[in-house]
């Protein structure tokens, strides 16, 4: 599969919350960091930075395949785009039943005021995911599953190099 997703690297995460901020701005009306916080309906971020056993990380929606939220959606609002792999919520269809909240294993769907809120990979945004753009340490990065596996293997190798023969 060549579809890319957003992965995190807890070793690079410094807990600055810039990704949360950028996500909220990207989902605001104005898309402007100076104005977003003044809007009547404050934009809600789709990503959270959290502390796990002393490490900072942010998991976010995994755009699963198969996606439990897509199975659960009784209004047909949650859909997976088979080309891009992105799972997103069609707000016109969403009836706020929260079946998706109930089944999401990664706590990536929030019950918003009117609709379900989740990561949409910023598929309407020029420049792609705002959170990846905002992270200056590489704590968040975009990759295909294959690339991700290779990155993890590579890091393991440098940590535990094969003994010299």
């Amino acid at each position: 599969m060549g579809k890319s997703k957003i992965y995190f690297d807890s070793e690079k995460c410094l807990g600055c919350h810039s990704c949360e901020f950028a996500c909220a701005v990207a989902h605001s009306v104005s898309k402007d960091p100076h104005k977003a916080h003044l809007e009547d309906e404050l934009p809600i971020r789709r990503r959270n930075v959290e502390l796990v056993e002393g490490a900072c990380l942010t998991v976010g929606c995994r755009h699963c395949d198969p996606a439990p939220c897509v199975d659960a959606c009784m209004a047909g609002a949650m859909q997976k785009n088979n080309e891009t792999g992105v799972v997103s919520c069609n707000l016109d269809q969403c009836v706020a039943c929260w079946m998706c909240v109930m089944v999401c294993p990664f706590d990536a769907v929030q019950p918003g005021k009117v609709h379900a809120l989740k990561c949409d990979m910023c598929d309407q945004r020029e420049g792609g995911p705002a959170c990846v753009e905002a992270c200056i340490t590489g704590g968040l990065f975009e990759a295909t599953p294959q690339q991700f596996v290779e990155t993890v293997q590579a890091r393991k190798k440098t940590r535990n190099p094969e003994p010299e023969k």
Binding site: A55, C64, M74, A75, G76, W98, D107, F148
Partner: protein, 431 residues
């Protein structure tokens, strides 16, 4: 190959879609009593309330069957499976042969066998047919009596209340939603519904429907006469098992299936409200009739037909119910209808006046929960219940409401056998 699917709702549509995506050329035949485009039965209340039109409750385009190249045989009933012949007998006498069969014909609302139930003006609350007849009939109706305080009953009550009807909900139990939540959480609902103007009559069982051909009221077992001009019944659904009688296909309350949605007969699968699958918390077969399960079962059945060896995710009973701003998510054994021996039940309230939580812990496992009001992070709890992991290390966090995914990430890491979806691996790969 030729695959016949009986039923064109959640399970059937899901199966058909999966088959077509996996195999562009296979023959898919869909049989159903309902000649309808893919509409969401769960959104029927919004049709009845007037909030949405039929077009607005479609969850796939009206052109779905053509787009997916499905041969449809609608408006006709499948009445018997001819297992040896590998064919389906229809009500009009035709026999449709299959290489693989997916039974997804759902269930029918069960009506209580009380005198007067055959009066005009008594309806179930399940499908489009029910909805359209209710909408037509309730033109001149002032008061509606709803039998049953479960999810269907309450959804019907709210929908008809929105439509401007005076609704009286007749509930046999001491509180509403008695199958899934306890009296404390139910109280929050009862107050909310009363504020909407819905009258709820607890500990009241219907003895008869009054009327001479047309509904005039309901009489309770105590002799109380409740006047109304329409009765809507939300007292459970019976799986449509008739078509598998004497076929050797194993049934109990529904058609019994394994993790692959296979029935006891080769090449025959079942999915949706007709199917009875394993409940991983109760550790036995159970009727878990829920939209997400129907969709998943349809998909898994189709995937297995295609030769992919996929299985159902761990599961137990669960539901999400929203009335206005009041949300309820339940999962597993909530201590509502069964006494769970040796279990600890912990309830908390707040911060809001309509917020409440209940957790049921047994042998260090979270075996059930109910969230009223604030339902955020419910999916994390659901994954703990369905996977049956030891939560003693995070019990404090759960009870104080601090259960986000980060809370369980160490548990996911430490129980790899229980969290097998590849997406868990990729999260752990980074962590």
């Amino acid at each position: 190959m030729k695959v016949v699917i009986i039923g064109n709702h959640a399970a059937g549509i899901s199966a058909a879609e999966t088959l077509r995506r996996g195999d562009a050329s296979c023959q898919i035949v869909m049989i159903s009593t309902e000649d309808t485009p893919p509409y969401s039965r769960c959104l029927i209340p919004m049709l009845v309330s007037g909030e949405k039109s039929l077009r607005e409750i479609l969850y796939r385009p009206a052109t779905f069957y053509d787009d997916m190249n499905i041969e449809t045989m609608f408006g006709v009933e499948a009445i018997r499976i001819l297992v040896k012949e590998k064919a389906v007998l229809l009500s009009d006498g035709r026999q449709i042969g299959y290489d693989f069969l997916i039974i997804a014909n759902g269930g029918t609302p069960s009506l209580p066998r009380i005198p007067g139930i055959e009066n005009e003006g008594v309806f179930g609350f399940r499908g489009l047919d029910d909805a359209q007849r209710i909408i037509e009939y309730c033109e001149n109706v002032e008061v509606v009596g709803v039998l049953g305080g479960g999810l269907v009953g309450l959804k019907a009550a709210v929908a008809l209340n929105k439509r401007g009807k005076k609704v009286k909900v007749i509930v046999g139990s001491p509180n509403v939603l008695s199958q899934i939540i306890g009296p404390h959480e139910a109280g929050i609902y009862e107050r909310y519904l009363s504020e909407l103007g819905i009258e709820i009559m607890m500990r009241t069982n219907p003895a008869a429907v009054l009327g001479d051909g047309q509904v005039e009221g309901v009489e309770s077992t105590e002799g109380l006469k409740i006047p109304c001009q329409m009765v809507v019944v939300g007292k459970g659904v019976d799986a449509n098992r008739a078509l598998v009688h004497d076929t050797g296909i194993k049934t109990e309350y529904g058609v019994v299936v394994d993790d692959h949605c296979r029935t006891s007969v080769p090449d025959v699968y079942a999915a949706g409200d007709i199917a009875q699958s394993r409940d991983d918390v109760r550790a036995r077969l159970w009727m878990n009739s829920l939209w997400p399960f129907a969709v998943e079962e349809g998909r898994v059945a189709a995937e297995n037909v295609l030769g992919w060896d996929t299985t159902l995710r761990p599961r137990t009973s669960m539901n999400s119910f929203t009335v206005g701003e009041l949300c309820l998510i339940t999962c597993g054994l909530t201590g509502a209808r069964e006494e769970i021996e040796g279990a600890e039940e912990i309830t908390t309230t707040g911060p809001g006046k309509n917020d409440g939580r209940r957790f049921v812990v047994k042998d260090n496992r979270l075996v059930g929960f109910a969230l009223v009001g604030d339902v955020r992070h419910a999916g994390v709890l659901t994954s703990l219940v369905t996977r049956g992991v030891d939560v003693s290390g995070i019990k404090d966090e759960i009870i104080t409401g601090r259960y986000s995914f980060s809370t369980i990430l160490p548990l996911v890491r430490d129980n790899p056998g229980k969290f097998t979806a590849p997406e868990y691996h990729e999260v752990l790969g980074s962590f």
